[in-house]
Amino acid sequence: MKKTVLDQRRAPIYEALERFRQMRVVPFDVPGHKHGRGNPELTAFLGERCVGVDVNSMKPLDNLCHPISVIREAEELASDAFGASHAFLMVGGTTSSVQSMILSVCKRGDEIILPRNVHRSVINALVLCGAVPVYVNPEVEQRLGISLGMRRSQVEKAVREHPRAVAVLVNNPTYYGVCSDLKAIVKIAHDAGMLCLVDEAHGTHLYFGENMPISAMAAGADISAVSMHKSGGSLTQSSLLLTGPGVSTGHVRQIINLTQTTSGSYLLMSSLDISRRNLALRGKTVFSRVVEMAEYAREEINAIGGYDAFGKEIINGDSIYDFDATKLSVHTRDIGLAGIEVYDILREEYDIQIEFGDIGNILAYLSMGDRPQELERLVSALADIRRRYRKDSSGLLSQEYIDPTVVCSPQEAFYAEKTSVPIENSAGHVCSEFVMCYPPGIPILAPGERITTQILDYIKYAKSKGCSLTGPEDPEILNLNVLTRGI
């Protein structure tokens, strides 16, 4: 049923906070800093206006656990803006959105079909709920060394082989901007009686920009986790969880309330509200500017020589069904440097912080806050790095997709009896913890997977190039926890 069109110029939470400010209510409730008065140093640092609205749930400001007034209105406006049946404001990062999404549809023993290049939060959710991952091998672009989307035929195969799986999860897009054929995958899932879940941590702008890859809700997916704080412009840790018509909002709300705070931050919620308004009113212009800047930067970087700032030309109709042109990824191997090395040089020598560097690529995150003059700096710095550091690229490892062997569910592995072994002796064992390069935060090893020498070589190489490896209990990653009773 088509909803009545809502007035996207409204921002109910923001408006309620402004009203609240004017009422000069005497606070005999939490937080204890009492509009900042009790913590002058914090107030001096963050500003009176900011701490003055760091307040608790109360009647005029609604309650995130059970919204009935202004938060509910803000959620309705957000669902209208994103074309969803319902939108939940989330304050625990998109990690909490992803986990609530998965916990809403999976329980212990259920199978869920997903690409291996998922964010750690997805597998963490499997540890929590006990579902079993069925990995679809995301194709790897051989030259660039990046994981792509899922091919339709591979999803069909997984669905055929695991007919009892409850859902298919899709990245839309990946960190690098690669999109699968989401519409087709939704259909494959629905035809098999499965739900389609979408990780749109990097996809907020798909809902507002023109000529963008299709968004989850437009493609008919059932649930999507949307990182408003990335391309949407809201504060870090604020996020949205969108649901389609076939999903019970009451059930999803119950699941969210299992783990989400009962003291939802009004700073985060108002930032979601104001950002949604901005996107709904001005998103089209904002993102066409971002795409324009990204296209300009690609041209300039490619003119330097040696770098490959790739764009829509990599689209192949299947595993790269579409490409998000706001993403500025640059392949650096041909100048003889690993992406992570370029990432470090940019920060250390040019004071330029980019989103991440992996083995073969860097990613500069462009958004509504960027200006052409900073792009010129980035391009000039890359030109200088090439002049100063260019070397032979042979000997640089390319990033291969390592097909994981799932021995048991992440939950089983995570809670099983385990032993710590030196990493070099760990091949053949079943890992009980994560190993990942961060960012992008995609696991190299997840709990329940067999450790192989190929994986160990990759970890060693990534370490030697300066990648920040995280996950294991041993922060130095000299030891790995493995299942005591190898399976």
């Binding site: 020598e349 004071d351 003059q373 010129e376 700096r377 391009v379 000039s380």
Partner: protein, 286 residues
């Protein structure tokens, strides 16, 4: 009625000029541009509320940023001037007949227009046939140049606004690449007096030191700039600013100046102790 223009030279220090008349005020795509007529300093150009030049003291800046490198490099043919849309630097440079080409890259066409209208004296040589004005981003322009210039003069605004990119390692490296093997780059380095400026000066000096084999700082006294005390950077691939000064050659040109002399040239590289210490700090870190 009293009308004053004021500018913060530091958070707790204000510098004010009495104003006869506010002649022009406009906002370009990049910045706020104003021209004031003042009793003491004549016409004054400000960008974003900061004094760029006054008719009364512009000669100090323009002479020191041009004649110092010109008296060192024996044969300057091709010059790139960055910023400097007011035309003051170009005016000094066009006095050298041996110069073949002056490329000027200015971000903001409106600055040039306003200066042509309100400071015609200053902008008078922008129409010299050797001068080629390019409008656009300097980083972008210079990225495409390789061993093309004998001298690059960076006449930027301060490093906290639209000129920020001209104080970066990537910019200095591109300048180095755009210079011939004996090329010189001179830039305005701000003031070392107030801490905010001093830190920015140290940061950019550090970047220049790590880019050019020779890098020295020299000073001048400019009443309308912060603390009345200004620095320039002399960076070069080959020539030393004092050892390679050819005073005889320069004097033989017979250029009349109001501030620069070849004796002052040498003296301007002798710096106060506190400044030497600040520079050593970053030079040693390299």
């Amino acid at each position: 009625m009293e009308l004053w223009f004021s500018e913060f030279h530091a958070p707790n220090v204000k510098h004010s000029l009495r104003v006869n008349k506010h002649l022009y005020s406009g906002v370009s795509d990049y910045q706020q541009i104003d021209i004031f007529d003042t009793p003491e300093f004549g016409k004054v150009l400000t960008l974003e509320g900061k004094v760029m030049l006054t008719e009364r003291d512009e000669f100090i800046y323009d002479e020191m940023i041009t004649h110092v490198p010109m008296a060192v490099h024996p044969n300057v043919l091709d010059i790139l001037v960055i910023g400097a849309g007011d035309g003051g630097v170009v005016k000094e440079l066009t006095r050298y007949h041996s110069v073949r080409r002056i490329d000027l890259i200015e971000m903001d066409p409106q600055v040039v227009e306003v200066c042509r209208t309100y400071l015609p004296e200053n902008a008078s040589q922008l129409d010299d046939e050797r001068v080629h004005i390019h409008y656009g981003n300097a980083l972008r322009f210079i990225r495409r140049c390789s061993e093309e210039y004998d001298l690059i003069i960076v006449d930027s605004t301060d490093p906290f606004g639209p000129s920020e990119g001209l104080f970066t390692r990537e910019f200095y490296a591109s300048c180095c690449n755009a210079l011939r093997e004996d090329g010189i780059m001179v830039n305005q380095q701000g003031s070392p007096f107030y801490s905010h400026d001093a830190e920015a000066m140290q940061r950019s000096h550090k970047r220049i030191v790590s880019t050019f084999p020779i890098s020295r700082i020299y000073q001048a006294h400019i009443p309308t700039y912060a603390a009345g005390y200004w620095l320039f950077g002399f960076a070069s691939k080959k020539y030393h600013p004092i050892d390679d000064l050819d005073a005889k050659r320069w004097l033989s040109l017979g250029l009349k100046t109001k501030y620069y002399t070849t004796r002052l040239h040498v003296g301007s590289f002798y710096l106060p102790a506190f400044l030497e210490e600040m520079l050593m700090e970053v030079e040693n870190a390299e």
